[in-house]
Symmetry: C2
Subunit: 196 residues, 2 copies
DNA sequence: CGAATGACAAAAAATAAAATATGTTATTTG
DNA sequence: CAAATAACATATTTTATTTTTTGTCATTCG
């Protein structure tokens, strides 16, 4: 069956994601993924250096598609103030994390594991998100809505200051019920620090 | 040897802490702790309902003595502005966490475990710290240095917004080298949100 | 010849059996 | 009789063993 179609990187990632979702990150072996593709597991090692690399690639793609891409739309909105856009962006980020924790538990578990094991993937993802925020912040600075400064640094500070609401290490706390009020209080403080 | 001295709660906690430091939280059994006290392990169950309860009590006491008590001194300082006091308090908290991570690794591991397992103990500890911050914040509000508001809510927001720098789930990140700069950026934002 | 295979060694994980630890309680001790 | 013990049942951990999985590579296939 090997030459029915050429085996692309994306086809592997599709299969891997599907199998990972089905069995969970603990229970899926690279043989399981190979079986889903009707290839020998050795073949996968021509495309990925290790199981860890494959897991990272799946996670990276999932983060891009599930988190980064939807947020990108908010960055380019033209209605409302920069503060509104920033707030929408943050709420969308937090909401997405909570939703995936509940509804796509296997992938979320995978993402949590990769956060601990592979700094590089997460670092790139965070940089991407910070760059998105920085664009909104820069807009606010340009229009005089926010006080002047280095947008990238301010965005990174905003991201750090809200870690509790989006970093997977705090996922347990998200169920607590005071989270929305807590975020509201943090947001007020940050926004008034941002305002010109 | 049982009646040489009466067995107090504190004597048990002293012994437990010592043994925990020596063997680490993974390797200490309640028999080990009983041996250190020259009593049978059953005796310890007259004082603590379970091993978990004993571990929690040790952690609680350690947190009070190692974290809360030293910070209390800063709250009552009268020199400098409220902002200075707040900054000193935060830096002392962050510094203490980093120091214990490196120098008192067993107790820090224990504290990290309890953070995950026993919400109640940590909740009480955080409340205590937030109340300390609230006192400083209230001082700043009274003097007109900070804008008016509910000190307790503001303090809680400050604590949330700096979680990345003191919550044990982020301990790995503390070694990264950009932490001081990151904290500085967050602090600037928060302080300018606080200022009248 | 480029891509995939399948046989293989090494590493890791699952399983089963033995040993230790936790938690309870009837009995002992001062 | 208050406090501690020691014997016990249950639960958990450790250890030794077997099985699975990972990663490599010489060979095969189209």
């Amino acid at each position: 069956m090997s030459h029915d179609q050429i085996l692309t990187r994306d086809a592997i990632l599709d299969a891997a994601e599907q199998v990972l979702r089905r069995y969970g990150p603990e229970k899926t072996s690279v043989v399981d993924i190979a079986k889903a593709l009707n290839v020998s597991h050795g073949t996968l090692y021509r495309h990925f250096a290790s199981k860890a690399a494959l897991r990272e690639a799946v996670t990276e793609r999932w983060l891009d598609a599930s988190i980064s891409a939807p947020l990108e739309a908010i960055v380019h909105r033209t209605d409302g103030s920069a503060a509104d856009r920033l707030r929408s962006w943050m709420e969308a980020l937090i909401q997405a994390k909570r939703t995936y924790l509940a509804q796509d538990a296997e992938m979320f578990a995978m993402y949590t594991a990769v956060t601990v094991e592979s700094v590089a993937v997460i670092h790139a993802h965070v940089d991407h998100l910070v760059r998105q925020m920085a664009q909104i912040v820069e807009g606010g600075m340009r229009s005089g809505e926010f006080k002047a400064g280095r947008p990238e640094d301010v965005a990174r500070a905003l991201f750090s200051a809200t870690a509790r609401f989006h970093h997977p290490a705090h996922a347990q706390e998200w169920l607590s019920g005071t989270m929305d009020a807590d975020f509201e209080a943090v947001w007020r403080l940050l926004l008034s620090g941002l305002a010109a």
